[in-house]
């Protein structure tokens, strides 16, 4: 008797496995995160129960989770769009910053009294600023094959410093006691809160955008083109699809959506521009998009799940004095395990017991990939 272990590509994924693998990945990530916490002298059970209680335990917790899920969903839709085309927009964070800067600039220099007009102006300004920020990287990539991962990332740092320039410099509110923030926006530039919570009307955008892009990617010709270009750029160019035009367009849209997410944070939640206003939503969005396997509707659900982690992380900071970075550790681990889980989707491991001589060759028909 001899045992052989072989790894074979799957031809199709069993439906049960499609759900089981992400769940197991998540579980494994939380488990190893728990071990990490344990070695830091923190009880993992207590930490996780604090996370769950603070985010789902009461209506306030749930509303706060939704508040976090709003920008996350939008940013995740933004990066999903580029990832679908195999363009790696890692710059959602910077695009959120640019959208926020444009929003604050609109409020400062073009303030009008009419609410709808103000909303429209902010929306357009934030979309244009984020969009241009994304399109720069897209153009460089499509035209000269400049690595967009690095360009978008570097532009994140540039946007962050630009924001710092404004809030530490010319836009600082003189009455802020030295804090790096602008003055509070006038009422006409504020999105209303819903149901007496901190959930703002940006929620509707966060629900509408996934539906919209689900429809576009699935049912329109352009959506089809993008997916083809992601899977096989050569075939796409032979079919007459313009790579340059579409990369720039997708990166513009991606940046614009992220920019609008930044506007939502300012006009909806915070009411002013301040130093470090986005808690890394642009980076977390990458995990969300990947966990959702780039499915626009799944992104809504995963954003909510990630919202639990973010709200919980903030509470951990207060209750157990764990820094916010512990959430980043968990996020990194989740991403590692999800990647590992992919393997079991793509391949199956076959363990066989063979009788007879150890040199018995495998027959041709038992190798389905040949």
């Amino acid at each position: 008797m001899r045992m052989t272990v072989r790894i074979e590509p799957r031809l199709s994924v069993p439906p049960g496995l499609k759900l089981l693998i992400p769940l197991l990945s998540l579980g494994a990530a939380l488990f190893s995160g728990g071990i990490f916490l344990y070695f830091l002298g923190v009880s993992p059970l207590k930490a996780y129960s604090v996370i769950l209680k603070s985010s789902l335990g009461d209506s306030y917790g749930i509303s706060e989770t939704i508040v976090k899920a709003i920008p996350l969903t939008m940013a995740a839709i933004a990066v999903m769009l580029s990832f679908t085309m195999l363009i790696w927009n890692i710059g959602a964070e910077g695009q959120i910053f640019m959208g926020a800067i444009a929003t604050a600039a609109t409020v400062r220099y073009f303030s009008v009294d009419s609410r709808p007009a103000m909303y429209l102006l902010m929306f357009l300004a934030a979309g244009a600023a984020g969009g241009v920020w994304g399109a720069i990287a897209g153009y460089f990539r499509a035209k000269w094959n400049v690595n967009e991962i690095i360009t978008t990332l570097m532009l994140n740092y540039v946007a962050m410093n630009l924001l710092n320039y404004f809030v530490f410099g010319p836009w600082r509110d003189p009455s802020s006691l030295g804090f790096p923030m602008t003055a509070v926006f006038p009422d006409s530039a504020r999105l209303p809160f819903l149901w007496g919570t901190r959930i703002h009307t940006g929620l509707f955008l966060a629900l509408l955008l996934p539906l919209l892009f689900w429809g576009i990617l699935r049912y329109t010709r352009w959506g089809y083109e993008i997916r083809v270009m992601g899977e096989n750029p050569r075939a796409a160019s032979f079919a007459g699809m313009s790579y340059l035009k579409n990369v720039v367009l997708v990166m513009f849209l991606s940046g614009a959506i992220a920019g609008i997410a930044g506007m939502g944070e300012l006009a909806g939640l915070q009411g002013r521009l301040q130093h470090g206003f986005s808690g890394g939503y642009g980076y977390t969005a990458i995990i969300v998009a990947w966990l959702a396997r780039l499915h626009p509707l799944a992104i809504v659900l995963v954003s909510f799940l990630m919202g639990i982690l973010l709200v919980g992380g903030e509470t951990l900071q207060i209750v157990m004095r764990l820094p916010l970075s512990s959430v980043m550790v968990l996020q990194g681990l989740i991403l590692f395990f999800v990647l590992g889980g992919e393997f079991f989707r793509k391949f199956r491991i076959r363990i066989r017991f063979l009788k007879g001589a150890p040199t018995e060759p495998l027959r041709e028909e038992s190798q389905p990939w040949k």
Partner: protein, 309 residues
């Protein structure tokens, strides 16, 4: 002259962390594995180096610790990318998040402490040369090691059998496999050693450059190193040139700030990042015009032995 020498000296010092990171990434990428987690690896290297140096009092033990931690992280990356054939871009992002989070979580009790760090040693004779002496030969031993590493890599890649094997694995794993070169094993080894060298870059920051630990202290240098690999077209000597160029921009920017310029600090702090984009753009435009581009042909692609092309 009196102004230029300190800036050039500072350029070499602040370029060294980036140089280590770039060299480590070149080693990893030569084998065909893309590791975008440099930022996280550098941060954990900086933390572990500082923490060991602080508790044992020996900076060199810190250097060793950082290297070993880097190797471990490289092992994790290799496991996901080589064995599990996961997406290398996403694995690198996961590494960045994990390393950033873990280093600030672990290092929160070390913030604010300083260590004596590595001693300054002037190289006899060479250190006395005017201009070149102070700029290149009046630093610490770890910085001199980076010179040696550049020379060693140049020789290793072009003139040794293991170096050729490594390049074969990165360019055409199928052919390498057919020649009997163990592709997976080689990718594991060089991803680990490469990440170890990247971690040395982080350790240089906390042990020699700032001599303290701070959250997010690498401030994007890991990503700049990723860009520099492309700028260097996978050539260690060009990597040194690029790293000192960036060190120069940083030194210049810091000097302007301390000199009390009217240009606001955030605008000056954009410079290295804008320069990275500019450098990448420049090299990519020139690539179209026929310079030899040394990218490993199978960079970022997992190798599955049983699969046909």
């Amino acid at each position: 002259m009196e102004i230029i020498i300190p800036i050039l000296t500072a350029a070499v010092r602040s370029g060294t962390p980036i140089l280590y990171a770039t060299l480590g990434e070149i080693l990893t990428e030569k084998g065909g594995v893309l590791n975008l987690g440099l930022e996280g690896i550098m941060l954990l290297g900086a933390y572990s180096g500082f923490s060991v140096a602080y508790s044992t009092g020996s900076a060199w033990l810190g250097v060793v610790a950082a290297f070993l931690v880097g190797c471990l992280l490289g092992l994790l990356h290799a496991f996901i990318c080589v064995s599990l054939k996961g997406n290398q871009v996403v694995a690198g992002l996961a590494m960045t998040m994990f390393g950033t989070g873990a280093s600030s979580l672990l290092g929160r009790s070390l913030v604010g402490f300083t260590i004596p760090g590595l001693d300054r040693i002037s190289v006899p004779l060479l250190g006395d040369i005017p201009l070149l002496g102070p700029v290149f030969f009046q630093h610490d031993a770890m910085l001199y090691c980076s010179y040696a590493l550049v020379l060693f890599f140049c020789w290793y890649f072009s003139s040794t059998r293991p170096g050729l094997n490594l390049r074969a694995v990165g360019d055409n794993p199928r052919a390498a496999d057919a020649m009997g070169i163990p592709v997976a094993k080689i990718r594991y080894i060089y991803t680990m050693v490469g990440a170890g060298i990247v971690a040395l870059g982080g350790a240089y920051m906390s042990l020699a450059y700032t001599k303290m630990w701070g959250e997010l202290m690498t401030a994007g240098r890991g990503w700049i190193a990723v860009a520099l690999v492309i700028f260097a077209i996978w050539n260690p000597a060009r990597a040194a040139l690029g790293a000192y160029l960036f060190g120069g921009v940083e030194a210049f920017q810091l000097r302007l700030q301390t000199a009390g310029t009217t240009i606001p600090a955030p605008i000056l702090m954009m410079l290295p990042y804008l320069m990275t984009v500019a450098v990448l753009l420049f090299i990519s435009i020139r690539k179209g015009k026929g310079i030899v581009f040394g990218a490993p042909a199978s960079l970022g692609l997992p190798f599955f032995r049983e699969e046909r092309d």
